[in-house]
Assembly symmetry: C2
Homo-oligomer: 144 residues x 2
DNA sequence: TAATATACTACAAAATTACTAGGAATTCAA
DNA sequence: TTGAATTCCTAGTAATTTTGTAGTATATTA
């Protein structure tokens, strides 16, 4: 039941962008340096965020990325789902609408649905702004 | 954020044992056949449950496994934690007591703690007896 | 036009998951 | 007392997923 580095890095990446939101375009390189994460790997993660319009990119010199909205308008849940994929504990729950036919009438499916709902409720209640505010007080160890 | 087959199989295994709780020792072989799960793999999973005294084993002919308590005295959470390990979304939360030193003052740790609490709350509120009751009504597709 | 970026595709290493194999030890029943 | 049934134990291995690397094309600016 682990969150992968993709999701964790995405949170740090987005927090970094939020903190520097008034500094124009932010290059992957600068984020990678500050956060001590592989540049190329970050590139792949930010691509996922760009595809879903959570960030926008500008190519070329002085290019880089920036947020498309205010930090308070993002939730942690949204960021995690874009980078991790669904937070569902089983594959059958990955499509929003219809779980797999066999599972429709399955005992355990309802358990996993409850778990998913509980997880989503938590992560959807926390905004990126909250991370920014806390970060300024506390810091981020980088390991979780 | 997936539950592995270990945890899912363990749930089916324990439900199977609960349903046959008055039939004496239940062999791995019979469970494997009923549940259509590899015998050798089940063996490894049940070993984890036996080590923590969720089931007891009898060796030799006519041997097998049985529950050590009534089905209502097990929670899904307990079964999952024994087989999956902690349900924590990050390694730093795996030991109950003290998260890693660096993380103590970390922004994201509190998010993961909230997620863990939410997940545990759900799975700890469901008993094995509930699975048995529902199973009799609904069945189990085996894929989740 | 050189420097600085992102965009894209493919590959690869490392870690984890999900088994498989084989035999030793134990118990029961004939 | 022997053979069948069963758990116990250790290793190995295949498949999958995660976590990156590498290289090149494309775009932008000074």
């Amino acid at each position: 039941m682990k969150i992968s580095t993709k999701g964790r890095y995405a949170l740090r990446l987005m927090t970094d962008l939020a903190i520097h939101k008034d500094d124009g375009n932010i290059s992957i390189k600068s984020i990678a340096t500050r956060q001590n994460i592989s540049e190329k790997y970050l590139e792949q993660i930010i691509k996922l965020l760009a595809k879903e319009n959570l960030v926008e990119s500008t190519r070329g010199a002085q290019g880089g990325y920036k947020l498309t909205r205010e930090p308070i308008e993002y939730t942690v849940g949204e960021i995690l789902r874009v980078t991790e994929g669904s937070l569902a504990p089983v594959a059958c729950l990955e499509t929003d609408d219809n779980p797999c036919e066999n599972c429709m009438d399955c005992v355990t499916l309802e358990i996993w649905q409850c778990v998913l709902d509980a997880v989503n409720k938590v992560v959807d209640s926390i905004t990126l702004q909250y991370l920014v505010d806390k970060q300024k007080e506390k810091g981020n160890c980088g390991c979780c």
